[in-house]
Assembly symmetry: C3
Homo-oligomer: 310 residues x 3
Amino acid sequence: MGSSLQGRDILRTDTLRDEELRLILSTAERFEEWLKAGSHLENMRGRVMASLFFEPSTRTRLSFEAAMHRLGGGVITVDDPMTSSAAKGESLADAIRVVEGYADVIAIRHPREGSAAEAAAAVSIPVINGGDGTGQHPTQALLDIYTLKKEKGAIDGLTVALVGDLKNGRTVHSLVYLLARFDVRLIFVSPTQLMMPADITDNLLARGIEVSVTEDLAGAMRESDVVYMTRIQKERFEDPTEYQRLKGAYVLDMAMVEQAKSGITILHPLPRVNEIEEEVDGYAGAAYFRQAHNGLPVRMALLALVLGRE
Amino acid sequence: MGSSLQGRDILRTDTLRDEELRLILSTAERFEEWLKAGSHLENMRGRVMASLFFEPSTRTRLSFEAAMHRLGGGVITVDDPMTSSAAKGESLADAIRVVEGYADVIAIRHPREGSAAEAAAAVSIPVINGGDGTGQHPTQALLDIYTLKKEKGAIDGLTVALVGDLKNGRTVHSLVYLLARFDVRLIFVSPTQLMMPADITDNLLARGIEVSVTEDLAGAMRESDVVYMTRIQKERFEDPTEYQRLKGAYVLDMAMVEQAKSGITILHPLPRVNEIEEEVDGYAGAAYFRQAHNGLPVRMALLALVLGRE
Amino acid sequence: MGSSLQGRDILRTDTLRDEELRLILSTAERFEEWLKAGSHLENMRGRVMASLFFEPSTRTRLSFEAAMHRLGGGVITVDDPMTSSAAKGESLADAIRVVEGYADVIAIRHPREGSAAEAAAAVSIPVINGGDGTGQHPTQALLDIYTLKKEKGAIDGLTVALVGDLKNGRTVHSLVYLLARFDVRLIFVSPTQLMMPADITDNLLARGIEVSVTEDLAGAMRESDVVYMTRIQKERFEDPTEYQRLKGAYVLDMAMVEQAKSGITILHPLPRVNEIEEEVDGYAGAAYFRQAHNGLPVRMALLALVLGRE
């Protein structure tokens, strides 16, 4: 019973079939149980992952590399915004084709949208997209879904508020397309300048997803089962007084949690700056660190599945 | 018989109990014998160490990472004075809490004093301090003690001269507190500007340690069993002529070794610049490279003990 | 039957005996077969390689590190043009002597010619030169020879054109000395300003190698079994109009391949900038990516042989 993901690239979430998504989530769950039991996994013994981070992202890189180590495999790393060969004028495709000879699977992060697909087209080993500019970040969206499932038991029936910079946020774009496969209600909470792009909202509505749009975080939290916070960056605003007016409204503190729907789950892709007060960390539904930790079993699942070693 | 160090952080040397110090030294000795016998150790199979070097220190980092590999474990590394997440405004505690989900143990070096304790407080996995600014450097002090024991057979009864910048030297501060647990005589050799801080000297005297203070290295070497050299940095002097006068006095050469107490052992935490002439390297008592190499079994011992896998 | 290379440094190609060269090539061949069969190699279980890249060279570093992982060993890495200890004024010999205590074998790349030999002299563990400035790059030359043997079946009888900057090209210098051990004819194709140094050409002629010198790439390709392309750098020319005149002449495209000797094999040490048009990549004799991939079994062979674990 070979996996349907063996030999596949993981470049975006919208091309994953529902049964593939279920396979990823169930494999991650199994790995998490093994990790908790302290089992030694040897699935990747003798295998090598190339971790190519042409843009710094410490947490994503460490998570991929830890995943490979936990599976018993080895890792070779490039952690350099401008590699020596790129500095000499080498194309990304050439660089990737060389690495193909050294590794069994590639995890790549690159500042340019489309670069992960370009890398995948250049080689025959599986490529996993660790974020390509304003493009996709599929492993983040998958660990978000995995977290929702673990925290809430099921995703169907949930009302999820997505908060912050919904215009530029790669993470929320990847996430809503995965959420749209479930029976969810979405609330988009952002300043008008940073609203979810219309084409995404239209696409969701066309798929029958109920979507509300508001600037009012406190109001949204009163009817949400989950609130997904993201950063609002000052430099996105043309009018600094507008930023001053809004920034306080999108800082989540315990007073807001106490006014929210009972049992609300709080997520954040991290790093946070000041979007969530530290006082919230002790709240049982503050799941953002558990969410980050879920990156490990989810990335283990992806690595094992694309190499057919789950 | 679980180790008394399982689950513990190693943040400083002064809170280690005597029996814990003995356990570390005897475990390191055992690991060194196994290394020499070419044994394959699998104690850490399936385990991952996060090596978080927010301040460059190549030798300490490589020593920790080699220790983990020698125990059969995997390593994820951050080797970056300013990580991407810190650049985005993330707190150290947040960064460490994320890594907690990926690794079983953390080795951290950070330029700010107290940062290792801050990291340890944020997570429930063991944290080993690889040097925090002007604070502590416990693994260096432990390998120094291990080296003294190996080179001299026993530490009780030794006269140890500590030489150089005793005012700012984190290494010598950590070391004298460990030495004070033994029946030793200490000679502090430094320019007046760079004397051992009075509170440290007072503490040692209160504990009954015999301490002499001098500017005369040659004289100190005539009565010492061990001389521990450290660097004197020009920038510590307000008066450059004072630096010129003193710098020659603290350069150890063969002529000084020949005038010293017979069999004197020479230590240095490395890197050296010109504190010890290369001609001294061939002298049997020149133990500074053996001292650096002892970092491997000592760090193996610490990693294995805090994870209960010795 | 211990290997004749156990305990040896690999610093240059001209001191390798013919039987040692054969041993390296046959060992690499065996490792390549094992890799293709998907075998788990455990030759280096418990062993550690220090990968010391004091000059960036992503592909060489990744190739060495992947080789060690494929053999089941661990890797500690320095990937920094100016290490912290060198910045403090430490000598290369001191830095290497410290690392000797952590690792079983060292792969080093350094911008200064002679530095690999200096490192090897400082320690008793094997040192493999990964390129030292304008000096040697023996592992590249060995993988080039390995590639020629694989692509053409045998090296004796071949006519090999070496093209580009033959004056400054460390790679071609190391390679021609290895080629000279076989019954080959060499054609040096370069602008007059970038000709092969006279002492090398004289040495080859003295050894009975037939050498032709020309500026005409197309002509050379009509009589060559192999063309080895290298980069020509603009900054090597005093007269920019001269560079303009020549640059087009040394760009290999399909039209040139079609006029060349039938079955010609095209090599390039990579990275390429524009020396070979991408349209050539699909040509069956375009072997430069296979050449790069051959770095893996060749470096596996070297690591295993010098540690006596083949």
